[in-house]
Amino acid sequence: MAVEMPFEAPLAQLREKIRELEQFGQEKGIDFSEEIARLEERYKELEEEIYSNISPSQKMHLARHHQRPTSLDLIGLIFEDYMELHGDRLFGDDLAVVGGLAKLDGVPVTVLGQQRGKDTKDNIARFFGSAHPEGFRKALRLMRQADKFGRPIITFIDTKGAYPGITAEERGQSEAIARNLLEMAKLRVPVICVVIGEGGSGGALALGVGNRVLMLENAIYSVISPNGAASILWKDASKADQAAEAMKITAQDLLEMEVIEEIVPEPRGGAHRDYEEAAAAIKERLLRHLEELSALHPDELVEDRYRKFRKIGEFEEQRKTAEMPIIDTVTASND
């Protein structure tokens, strides 16, 4: 697979044309600098046009790009002295979730993330970043440890979802996810979550109950993968692009719905183009949010997190006006 996404093809073609012209000019000793300058101008225009109009389905493909930085890539670039800790102390060590201790600008933190593989072998070992219950329970163990020692928690979300398999069900996949949601709500330390790639379903949310939830510009976050939605709604998983457009899965959508607090800008063309730049943008925001949250008392942190999730949801309350006075009289007579 090439670095370029299909929607970037016109750019790649134009770049190739410019290169050919330069080469031809050099070989023949002809001066094409005027034409080349014009083409470069056109290239900039086209770039602006393409990158400012990335559709939700194109973002889905960017979020899944095989060269997109993973949790471990970003951990290595953002933090110092990362020390990985292993195992859930109950069953095993799920490599689909990584975590441990690290320093963020000198401050000790606990850092966690779902981890996709870098190649096929790695992906098989890590179940393509889809955790079993032991992965979620490892994360919970490390979060409780952070809570005990008063360390802030940073999580990176990047998973298609929890692993759907026999043993995962036998060992309580539902309970493992549910337990994380409940326990994360109780944490008395700052929790910041960053959706870096694909945030899919309960498996993503199991690391996602934070005081702040940030999303990379091209990351997606949804209740079910667009492929899954397409196969349920239209009995056709190949209509994922169509589902991606309908489901409001982009960082911009989620910011509007107040599910996330901030969008982290990516290097032009996506985070895979420049890991350092992507990491620096995340780091800057982590430091800012951590500074704000560190001013809060542990009770306030719990309350702040509760309020954040408590207000999510859109509905209508159809007050039955005729009944309201009756209820009032009942209350009045009781008094």
């Binding site: 929890a162 759907p164 398999g165 026999i166 995962a168 069900e169 036998e170 060992r171 309580g172 996949q173 539902s174 309970e175 996810i177 549910a178 337990r179 949601l181 409940l182 326990e183 709500a185 109780k186 379903s201 309960g202 949310l205 996602g208 109950v209 976050y221 949804s222 209740v223 079910i224 899954g228 939605a229 349920i232 709604l233 309908a246 489901m247 409001k248 899965i249 959508d253 989620l254 719905m257 599910v259 997190r305 509760y306 999730f309 408590r310 999510i312 949801g313 859109e314 509905f315 209508e316 309350e317 159809q318 007050r319 039955k320």
Partner: protein, 297 residues
């Protein structure tokens, strides 16, 4: 010699010629049907046995021949569980909107209301069970497959908060296909919202009994349904995180018939007990009694 041949042929000729080469028996649909008035009889979806609807009602919609626990509408469940006349409904005026302008969602919501006679997939309120008060949330699979969107999440969260404020025990009957896709991320966040509310109830020392009924999967299974202090399920109820079809597609093999049933989950440590519908009310009131502070209610 001629005689023998003739006789053989006569034997063959006994088969009516028009049936030769086609199915000798009429197809299923062509068989004469016994006319049964709509609603008088009920066929068990598991064993196929036919029984009088009235008998079935008396039997709490449990098949008398195979013990299959049929799915219940929230109102039927409340009638079976709560002391007569004691139920006070909460938040019945909360209705879904179409926040994402999702194709087909608004019209499907209307269909579901007609179909189930409910306004959403959960009914919440408080009532007495065997004389013991409890806050209750009862889900209904016949409304949008019991899926959890903003309204289900909000009603359940409010019920949990009321239980916390009033220091009442909480009982939730779950049945759900999972989070409601048509509200996408808002549905997913209801898992966090309900679980966070349960965290508060938990810290306060409140009792939460989760009753899992057939089927309970996805976002409901992976949030409040599995967070009970006591978790029970009806016999045969299927519950788990991922659906059977998704797992079969992932591992490319057929799953055993009992996979994800209440009995399977009990065996794997995911449940406290499997409770027959006939015993449900008595079991709940016993548990509520044991958690009632001394001196009574």
């Amino acid at each position: 010699m001629f005689k023998d041949l003739f006789q053989k042929k006569r034997k063959y000729a006994t088969i009516p010629s028009e049936r030769l080469g086609s199915d000798p028996l009429p197809a299923e649909g062509d068989r004469p049907k016994r006319e049964i008035p709509e609603g008088l009889m009920n066929k068990c979806s598991r064993c196929g046995s036919i029984q009088y609807s009235k008998e079935l009602e008396k039997n709490l919609k449990v098949c008398s021949s195979c013990g299959h626990h049929m799915r219940l509408n929230a109102m039927e469940r409340i009638r079976m569980t709560v002391d007569e006349g004691s139920f006070i409904e909460y938040d019945e005026d909360l209705v879904s909107v179409d926040p994402l302008s999702f194709p087909g969602y608004a019209s499907k919501l209307e269909q579901q209301k007609m179909k189930s006679g409910l306004r959403e997939a959960v009914v919440t309120g408080e009532g007495l069970v065997g004389g013991f008060p409890a806050v209750m949330a009862v889900m209904s699979f016949d409304f949008f497959s019991g899926s959890m969107g903003s309204v289900v999440g909000e009603k359940i969260t409010r019920a949990i908060e009321t239980a916390t404020e009033k220091r009442l025990p909480l009982v939730i009957f779950s049945t759900s296909g999972g989070a409601r896709m048509q509200e996408s991320i808002l549905s997913l966040m209801q898992m966090a919202k309900t679980s966070a509310a349960l965290a508060r109830l938990d810290e306060q020392g409140g009792l939460f009994i989760s009753v899992i009924t057939d089927p309970t999967t996805g976002g409901v299974s992976a949030s409040f349904a599995m967070l009970g202090d006591i978790i029970m399920a009806e016999p045969g109820a299927v519950f788990g995180f991922a659906g059977r079809i998704v797992i079969e597609q992932t591992i490319r093999q057929k799953l055993p018939d009992d996979f994800q049933t209440a009995e399977f989950n009990l065996q794997h440590g995911q449940l406290d007990m499997v409770v027959h519908r006939k015993e449900m009310r008595a079991t709940l009131s016993k548990l509520l009694e044991m958690h009632t502070p001394k001196g009574g209610v």
